[in-house]
């Protein structure tokens, strides 16, 4: 088998053109599977009788062909230059100059950061979109309350700005005042760090005791931006229902009666369309809440833009 392969290779016939015979040691060719070469072998054998050097006398050791035996097809017309002996002068290290390395790093880091930011934004938008819901919103809805200055405040007043809603009551023993203090820190933090402003709102779950005056007095202890909302028993109950806030306030409380109200403790982030986009539980600390609100506010895009993107050719990204 071995001699069969080698012998024809030494000869300038077409079938042998692509075997680098000179470089393959003899034992190496034994490793080559016969199946790989079966087709070329067949051809070689066919052409054998035509070849002049295919006589049985030529031994495997004479397989190194002299240069003038090089196949003609490899020779440029009119020259005798052996290109295999020419050296390429260009060194591969010239591409690794500090300039190109710096460019590579800058572009690489920049693109990674950009893609990460964009990915985060798209994810947040998708989340917000899912929370906005189709048709009836899961959290939020129409309400008709009165603010602490005695003016009517409805869900329509939530439009045009981001809002952070918190439900509680003024007689709350420990959690609400804590949370309202946190709210103040969140307001200031977002303003200072990211120049983001929004309307913080405190809605009472205890309309029986929390009149607009009481609310105003109570909230004067906290951040001046916080707007207190109250209303009739039924309207407050309706608002709490809309926001999925557990509402346990007794309807008929005698004046002066001392009681506590159970309520859920969440901050609801509402977008400038008055729609719910995110909820922040007590698991977040002030910094965590600031970061989360900042991300949501930055990822927000107005409704027209969202619709346009959904219609666009990249719409599948937003669905």
């Amino acid at each position: 088998m071995l001699s069969k392969i080698v012998r024809p290779l030494a000869t300038p016939i077409r079938g042998s053109l692509y075997f680098p015979v000179q470089r393959v040691p003899l034992w190496g060719s034994r490793l080559v599977s016969t199946r790989l070469f079966s087709s070329s072998l067949q051809r070689m054998e066919e052409e054998k009788p035509k070849s002049p050097s295919s006589s049985p006398s030529s031994s495997p050791s004479s397989s190194t062909a002299p240069p003038h035996h090089k196949p003609l097809s490899r020779m440029p017309i009119g020259t005798e230059k052996d290109y295999s002996k020419m050296k390429i002068k260009r060194s591969p290290s010239e591409f690794l100059s500090w300039k190109s390395l710096a460019l590579f790093l800058v572009v690489g880091v920049g693109m990674t950061w950009l893609f990460r930011e964009q990915k985060k934004k798209i994810e947040l938008r998708r989340e917000a979109e899912a929370n906005r819901g189709v048709g009836k919103p899961l959290i939020g809805g129409p309400f008709d309350l009165v603010d602490m200055n005695g003016n009517q405040y409805t869900d329509k007043d939530l439009k045009g700005h981001f809002s952070l809603l918190y439900f509680g009551f003024t007689h709350c023993p420990d959690i609400c005042p804590d949370e309202l203090d946190d709210m103040g820190e969140i307001i200031d933090g977002l303003k200072k760090k990211y120049k983001i402003e929004f309307q913080p709102i405190f809605i009472t779950c205890d309309p029986g005791r929390d009149s607009p005056e009481v609310m105003k007095e109570y909230l004067s202890d906290f951040h001046p931006d916080i707007l207190g909302l109250t209303g009739t028993y039924d309207n407050v109950k309706k608002a709490c229902r809309a926001y999925r806030v557990y509402f346990s306030t007794p309807r008929d409380v005698k004046p002066g009666q001392d009681y506590l109200v159970d309520h859920s403790i969440f901050f609801y982030l509402m977008d400038p369309e008055g729609q719910f986009i995110d909820v922040l539980g007590r698991n977040y600390d002030v910094d965590g809440a600031i970061e989360k609100i900042k991300d949501q506010v930055r990822a927000y895009e107005p409704k027209e833009e969202r619709e346009k993107k959904k219609e666009g050719f990249l719409g599948f990204l937003y669905k």
């Binding site: 007689h171 309309p207 009481v214 004046p255 002066g256 977040y284 600390d285 970061e291």
Partner: protein, 105 residues
């Protein structure tokens, strides 16, 4: 919108200074309970001991806080103690409390 009541005093929610005073008295009372190893001050079998050892602190607590808050804090104490105990037990077993950035302690 009518929220007019004759007795306005009890309607007024405690303001910041009153709240802080109440919490302070609560902490003093609870420290006293820690001293006599009482977890639940509302349990019948400990009432006597609490009255004897921490009577004055309890009175001050009730004076500085509205009744509903006193009840609330006393009811809450066993839960807080339980939470504390579980955390301590976990720590003794070699658990490490991991503070995630952005999350409350």
């Amino acid at each position: 919108m009518g929220f007019f009541f004759s007795s306005q005093e009890s309607k007024e929610p405690p303001n910041r200074s009153k709240r802080e005073k109440c919490w302070e008295s609560r902490d003093i009372f609870f420290q006293c309970l820690d001293r006599i190893n009482v977890v639940d001050p509302l349990r019948n079998d400990t009432q006597k001991l609490v009255k004897k050892e921490c009577g004055t602190e309890d009175k001050q607590f009730q004076k500085d806080c509205v009744a509903s808050w006193v009840k609330y804090f006393k009811q809450k104490r066993p839960f807080d103690k339980k939470k504390e105990r579980i955390l301590n037990e976990a720590k003794e077993e070699g658990a490490e409390v991991v503070q995630l950035p952005g999350y409350r302690k």
